[in-house]
């Protein structure tokens, strides 16, 4: 089992504040599956506008977190995460995510090729599913 802390994640992904969406990798099977987490802080800059008086973490940021987790699972099999771009996503958002939540993001690869990859994702807060779906990443 491979796990990664925040510093190791920064060596794997090119993203930085305020757009690094993965805090920890709990489990990584390179090229196949990853379980990552992202803590949602009320201090996150995105809550300045989404929304004043009612903080809800944007679905688009959850989508990005999934893409970054996918980037790690693909890079660690020998690819380059920096060169993977989100091409298509079909993510369904089931419950609102709010400050204090901790996202557990599980990504499994369904098809990996030189042109890109298709992955399936499930995102939970505690034992509640908050988002799920499929995503296609393109090799840039």
């Amino acid at each position: 089992m491979i796990a990664m802390d925040f510093e190791e994640i920064k060596r794997s992904l090119p993203h930085r504040f305020p757009f690094l969406m993965i805090d920890r990798i709990h489990f990584l099977d390179p090229g196949k599956r990853v379980v990552a987490s992202k803590n949602i802080s009320g201090n996150d800059i995105v809550f300045l506008g989404h929304f004043p008086g009612k903080s809800i973490y944007p679905g688009v940021m959850i989508t990005e977190a999934i893409a970054q987790a996918a980037g790690i699972v693909l890079k660690e099999r020998g690819g380059k995460a920096a060169e993977m771009m989100l091409a298509h996503s079909d993510i369904r958002f089931l419950r609102p995510v709010i400050p204090g939540d901790r996202l557990t993001i599980e990504v499994r690869t369904e098809k990996v090729a030189r042109a890109g990859a298709v992955v399936a994702a499930r995102v939970k807060v505690l034992d509640k599913l908050v988002a799920k779906g499929r995503m296609v990443l393109k090799t840039a």
């Binding site: 091409a87 298509h88 098809k111 090729a113 030189r114």
Partner: protein, 81 residues
């Protein structure tokens, strides 16, 4: 006798291209007529693998792109045997 359900393949192609299944003709060329690129072809292969339980090697990606619906079904039949 074919073991591949062509209508199932048509529905998968329609889903990825966001078209109506009726618009996907047997002779529809995936690239020239439906505008499929490498990433959409990859998505189609992933759905076929998942829903029809057929393993499709990556080398077949170009063959898929250069086929029409009938050609894709024929390719899958060859992979099944």
């Amino acid at each position: 006798m074919s073991g591949i359900d062509k209508e199932h393949i048509r529905r998968i192609v329609a889903r990825v291209t966001e078209m109506d299944p009726e618009e996907i003709l047997d002779e529809s060329h995936l690239v020239d007529d439906l505008g499929i690129d490498s990433i959409m072809a990859l998505e189609i292969l992933a759905l076929i693998e998942k829903e029809l339980k057929i393993g499709i090697p990556e080398e077949k990606l170009d063959s898929v792109k250069s086929a029409n619906l009938n050609g894709l079904v024929q390719l899958l039949e060859e992979l099944q045997v």
